[in-house]
């Protein structure tokens, strides 16, 4: 097998393994009733986004987009309904765009905490915009500040988690790449 093909296989396998990990994170959140602590619809800890963010910065944005899209579709099939699918899709798109913006604009100034907070708030803005299509923009705008505050909290927590394990994660990704080169 050609080296290039080997790399592709490794990349595909790793992405799909991470997709499975992200799905488990989604399920874990489904079991974790954070809605009782913070009774706002749409608020989640975002554990799956830890995985997506790691792929985004350690592999590539393209891989992160693919895994994120598949995760949203699978989650909707397993736990959701058409409304939640639309909200998650729009949220995931906006979270992706905010991460892309930060990667382009300030790649070295902002740690994973800033990235996660921005992605979480981006996710919420995307959700609100999609919800505005279904419900009513005025209502949703009144709701946005609460979601943004929740986003600072949940994004900060997941970002802290990523900061703590960034080095280890990076070693995993880099090691694989080195092995492929041999």
């Amino acid at each position: 097998m050609q080296l290039r093909d080997k790399r592709r296989v490794v990349r595909l396998c790793r992405d799909m393994a991470l997709l499975a990990l992200a799905m488990i994170c989604s399920y874990l959140e489904f079991l974790l009733p954070i809605g009782v602590l913070i009774p706002l619809p749409g608020v989640k800890l975002g554990l799956a986004n830890v995985v997506i963010t790691a792929i985004f910065f350690l592999q590539s944005p393209v891989d992160a987009a693919a895994v994120s899209l598949l995760r949203v579709l699978l989650s909707a099939l397993l736990f959701g309904n058409p409304v939640s699918l639309l909200l998650s899709l729009s949220g995931a798109l906006f979270a992706f765009l905010s991460m892309l913006a930060i990667k382009r604009l300030f790649p070295r100034r902002v740690s994973m905490i800033g990235v996660s907070v921005l992605a979480a708030t981006g996710h919420h803005i995307g959700q609100i915009l999609a919800a505005a299509l279904l419900f009513d923009l005025g209502v949703m705008l009144a709701y946005l500040p609460l979601l943004l505050l929740a986003g600072v909290l949940t994004g900060g927590l997941t970002g802290l988690l990523l900061n703590l394990c960034y080095d280890r994660l990076e070693r995993c990704f880099v090691l694989e790449n080195v092995k492929k080169d041999n």
Binding site: P39, N81, V83, P107, T121, D136, L141
Partner: protein, 128 residues
């Protein structure tokens, strides 16, 4: 601490700026939302359509039957809340009671929004 690629992975000034910006935006939006005063009526919207408007001044119980889910809205002591539902996530049940203009309860699975509307000329009339 920085890694080989030069990416920071501890809390830094940039993170503070991001968090500050988000907090500023939410405070700004909150101030806009706090302008309307005490609400007088609660509107029930299903999939964007207005179903009914209930007065907050009299105690009532109103049941909605939608395609998939059922919701019971109770108005008591000038506050409205979802008292019963068979939707799966039950977030609307945990949302508590609403009474101020602009307050909302959302039941996403059923596509239902409860919202308190204030007097004419409030921010709500503009947003609506």
């Amino acid at each position: 601490m920085k890694n080989a690629a030069g990416r920071r992975h501890s809390f830094g000034v940039g993170d503070g700026v991001v968090i500050g910006a988000v907090l500023l935006l939410s405070v700004f939006l909150l101030l806009g939302g706090l302008l309307p005063g005490e609400g007088r009526e609660v509107e029930i919207l299903a999939k964007g359509e207005r179903m009914i408007t209930l007065s907050l001044n009299e105690d009532t119980v109103y049941s909605l039957s939608l395609e998939e889910y059922h919701l019971t809205v109770t108005v008591r002591d000038g506050k409205a809340f979802v008292s019963e539902t068979d939707c799966p996530d039950r977030v609307c049940l945990h949302s508590g009671a609403i009474s101020r203009a602009g307050d909302i309860i959302v039941c996403a699975p059923a596509g239902v929004v409860l919202r308190v509307v204030g007097e004419e000329g409030s921010a709500d009339a503009v947003a609506g």
